[in-house]
């Protein structure tokens, strides 16, 4: 508790480079950038693979790789290889880790749709893309949103770790605090990261309430 008062009460964390609002904005900016790029890649790819059934191996491999690869190792290796300085070397592993959850769940959502639904849709004369977008996508939406949520959470967490290789954002408090044995700063930063993760979680829960059809929500 004392640490929290020490951290949030200190003027040091409200002005200048280390100001909490600034760090939060940085964190949001990097996270959103990586997340958006990952979604732009993974959703179309997942829809395509799920609908055509071709390339399922990519999905399986990416899911396993994302789970097994150590985040920190990947970050330091990529940044060392490409070079420190700009944002991209850090964004690349962030994006790479954000893709699999979306890809896997989009694929599973389309693939796992009721075969009778697919059959009925084609049987009524919907064309391939209409079957995908009008019948399968709405039914897969809960899973796609789950994938997006898991991905967003991964990005927030990985962006925190990425402070170690020089990325700004809330992870800075933890990494800098550890380096200087300023545990109030570590603790305060960790609390901020937890709050951010919870906010992301809540955002996606609300989002799925709004955009998933009640007819589909009940089924699952």
């Amino acid at each position: 508790m004392n640490w929290l008062i020490e951290f949030f009460g200190s003027a040091e964390y409200w002005t200048g480079d280390d100001a909490i609002p600034l760090r939060l904005l940085q964190h949001l900016e990097y996270s959103f950038l990586a997340f958006a790029i990952a979604a732009l890649v993974a959703i179309p790819l997942g829809l395509l693979i799920g609908h055509t059934g071709r390339g399922a191996v990519i999905v399986v491999v990416s899911a396993n790789a994302a789970r097994a690869l150590p985040t920190l190792g990947l970050l330091v290796l990529v940044v060392l290889l490409i070079g420190v300085g700009t944002l991209w070397p850090v964004l690349i592993p962030l994006i790479a880790l954000a893709i699999p959850p979306i890809l896997v769940n989009t694929y599973e959502g389309i693939r796992g749709a009721d075969p009778d639904l697919r059959d009925a849709a084609y049987g009524m004369g919907l064309r391939g893309s209409q079957v995908l977008f009008r019948a399968l996508l709405p039914v897969a939406l809960p899973l796609i949103l789950l994938g997006l949520r898991l991905s967003a959470i991964t990005v927030v967490a990985t962006a925190t770790v990425a402070a170690y290789v020089g990325l700004g954002g809330l992870g800075r408090y933890i990494i800098d605090g550890l380096a200087t044995k300023n545990y109030a700063e570590v603790f305060g930063g960790a609390v901020l990261v937890v709050l951010l993760a919870l906010a992301v979680q809540t955002l996606f829960t609300l989002l799925s309430r709004v955009i998933v059809s009640p007819g589909v929500r009940q089924v699952r």
Partner: protein
């Protein structure tokens, strides 16, 4: 009219699902494809709307080869009902029914009005329109499936085991509903089932297929029951063929004797010669202690009686 002209479906692994099928499906009537699993009945049905394309022969719809038509365009003109209904879970019932009209670019208002009309036509409460499929029972979903298939008023309806997944009581009411609808709409219906009783009940024509996709016999139900083409058909029809056939012979030609003194509908089996079959008349005789079936009219007045011997004689034709 739908014409199967030497249609064959052979898969890449060599299995033959349908073998040289030639058959005519008449307009405005129900033609049932029936047979055990693996007889190619569903494959045959699905080749009509190009869900599957044949590997040999042709299917003509009103004289035109279906493979010459773009599949989606073809399908929008053919109603399609499947076993599990396959409703869109994310759309309300009214929009499910209006799917094809929407695809055809109908005005939203007109499409929904049409959907509401069909909802009542298939015997559902208009209040169901705002519900989602999960809120309906299996039987109700199946009615919606039929309504959806009829939405754009297609001349042809394909029904693939539509009533197999519901319980017997619901199935019977759905079957009767279909016959009632058909008496108003006169669609060209191809109906697939593995249930010979359903086939005989619904079909104007019944095509029996055997495993390996070969046509065993095409006939009207009564003819099928009285003259099975071979042992396979005989066995598939099952026992009691003689009795079941009587269900297709009207009782109206029976010669009635005047009712003896004291014979009343009470304590006797009765039948209505104007609507019932010979089977109902025979059943009435068997239920009466004196073996007399009492004929009554729509108002319950006694018209006369028929004895067991006369009924068996009539049954022999």
């Amino acid at each position: 009219m739908i014409t199967f002209d030497g249609v064959t479906k052979r898969y890449a692994d060599g299995t033959v699902a349908v073998d040289d099928l030639s058959l005519e499906v008449p307009d405005g009537a129900i033609t049932v494809f029936v047979g055990p699993s693996g007889c190619g009945k569903t494959t045959s049905l699905r080749m009509i709307n190009r869900m599957i394309d044949p590997t040999g022969g042709r299917i003509l719809l009103d004289g035109k080869d279906v493979t010459a038509v773009d599949p989606a365009t073809l399908r929008r003109g053919i109603g399609y009902v499947i076993q599990q209904a396959g409703l869109f879970p994310h759309r309300r019932i009214v929009d499910n029914i209006a799917t094809v009209p929407f695809l055809l670019g109908w005005d939203k208002k007109k499409a929904r009005a049409r959907a509401m009309e069909l909802l009542e036509r298939v015997g559902l409460d208009p209040k169901m329109a705002r519900r989602y499929p999960y809120q309906l029972s299996g039987g109700q979903q199946q009615r919606v499936g039929v309504a959806r298939a009829l939405a754009a008023d297609p001349p042809v309806l394909l029904m693939d085991e539509p009533f197999s997944a519901v319980d017997p009581i619901v199935r019977t009411s759905l079957q009767e509903e279909l016959l009632r609808l058909q008496s108003e709409l006169h669609k060209t219906i191809v109906f697939v089932t593995h249930d010979i009783d359903e086939a005989v009940k619904l079909g104007d024509t019944v095509a029996v297929l055997r495993v390996g996709g070969k046509l065993a016999q095409v006939a009207a139900p009564a003819d099928l029951l009285s003259d099975p083409a071979d042992d396979f058909v005989r066995e598939f029809l099952g026992r009691d063929r003689g009795i079941r056939r009587l269900g297709f012979v009207p009782a109206k030609n029976l010669a009635l004797d005047p009712a003896p003194e004291g014979v009343t509908p009470e304590g006797h089996g009765t039948f209505n010669p104007a609507r019932d079959s010979l089977r109902a008349a025979l059943d009435a005789a068997l239920l009466s202690p004196d073996g007399l079936a009492v004929a009554v009219d729509d108002d319950g007045r006694v018209l006369g009686v028929v004895g067991e011997a006369a009924l068996v004689g009539a049954a022999r034709g």
